[in-house]
Symmetry: C2
Subunit: 326 residues, 2 copies
Amino acid sequence: MTDQRSFESLLDDYLTYFKEHPINGTTELLYEPANYILSLGGKRVRPLLCLMGYRLFQDNTDTALPLAHALEVFHNFTLIHDDIIDQAPLRRGKETAHIRWNVNQAILTGDVMLVKAYELFTDLKTSDSNKIKLIRGFNQMADEVCQGQQLDWEFSSMPHVSESDYIEMIRLKTSVLLGFCLYAGAVLAGASDREAGILYEYGVLNGISFQIIDDILDAFGDADVGKQPGGDILENKKTILLIELLHRVEGEDVMAVNHLLVDDQIQSEQKVERMLQFYREYEIEAYARERADQFRHKAESLIQQLESVDTTQLKTFMAALHQRMK
Amino acid sequence: MTDQRSFESLLDDYLTYFKEHPINGTTELLYEPANYILSLGGKRVRPLLCLMGYRLFQDNTDTALPLAHALEVFHNFTLIHDDIIDQAPLRRGKETAHIRWNVNQAILTGDVMLVKAYELFTDLKTSDSNKIKLIRGFNQMADEVCQGQQLDWEFSSMPHVSESDYIEMIRLKTSVLLGFCLYAGAVLAGASDREAGILYEYGVLNGISFQIIDDILDAFGDADVGKQPGGDILENKKTILLIELLHRVEGEDVMAVNHLLVDDQIQSEQKVERMLQFYREYEIEAYARERADQFRHKAESLIQQLESVDTTQLKTFMAALHQRMK
């Protein structure tokens, strides 16, 4: 319970900072969509991870707030451009920026958000050498996130994707940012390279586990969220579920599954239902849960190596994230 | 002649570096459109300005090549996103990236190009404090370029724009990058803040002058380029020409000009021809040339303050750019 209250107090700290620091400049309309998308809410996982990474080594959260914000601004830059790319009309139940404004505005505001994230890095209260270290890491992470998006596209048109390629894609697309949030907070607080490196891997491994669970929820549904299951199935998305099914399927089912993937005539509901039958028959959900658990356990055993700091709060937070996602 | 050969040798240095340093990474297809747009050519004005800014204070151009390249990569990032925004099918006679690939690819590759520009900054061979100084300046410049694009959009739907607002828009949209190229080269070479500041302003003032001349060429044509005149007129673009015409026009012509701006029925050729008649009648070209010259002369008198360095080559280069554009 103490830890739970702590997350909330960290979240309060961040939200207070957030409200007092809108993205702005002389040309107000440029920044309006940035503040709009940032205001849509969410769990603020990335800034919280950054603050927790920092607080493993330092108390005064204030210094880490601009860094936490830089990572949330970066994340929202990717959302604003991803929503254009995915032609998504809604985000968190509200209009996406390119719908509320237009595609051109969403491109330009996204661009300036990336620049604003870098501005927050150069303004950090730390030594110039530490800033350069953080910006280097940020560059690499941002580059990798773009590579992850690219691989996701490439996989969609490939007949066969291996599980390891898939894991690498989700590592780049979604997990390195989570790892970097912990890493950056720790580096700002003066952690050693070894400590910051362990935290980075801990974040990445948990991120991969989260993404696998997302795949499971997309197929089998999430009663809490009330989300319609099967979006990935309808898109023939090469999730870990489909990859493992294609690996396990045998006999007559090989043809049947392949037919399901290429049949344009089949109705959506039928396609989802039949694919779920195959997933059940070949025990794919259990396999995917096992893989998610493996990554999670690997993360947990890794963080044991951080003996000199108290990681209880961080582990409780990750467990809560896993819980909420199941 | 010596100076002329020097530009070419600097350009050779840059192009050699350029060929040996394609943008790359594991996910090759992500970077392909970046290398494509970078390879389309152009005068390479920005890297050359950076190298010249550097060589005012240091000889060994090698150190400045990655910085020059960062600025060319940044410029090409803006081109790849601008071409989407403008729905431009061609750039330098070749397909634009969003046509050759697709809009989503052009958005993503543009994003990673901005990150790659920052990577080149963090890898510079200079002190960490100098890197932070350069990255701060780069942040500000990039932010301003986005603001310039935003203002350009806003002006298009405003009934009246003042000349000073227009000058501020072109300063942000196109000129601050030219100023920053000189500034960054000088800072990397260890110039004082005063020296680097003068070079920045020198670049900005020349940039404004170039843009005004571009407006004139768009209206009155450029025999060398063989470009069809009148694009801005057809779009009712608030160039310095139209702004000054609206300021000068009187009597019956007020109605006639306003009619020309709102008449949807008029044929393109007629609209251009009639607007050009008004420009001639009110001596708008001469006025615009005078304004361009004023900014250029202001730049020239400013750079006289750099007494301890030899700015002959830089001034010759700027004169050549003015010459080619007239």
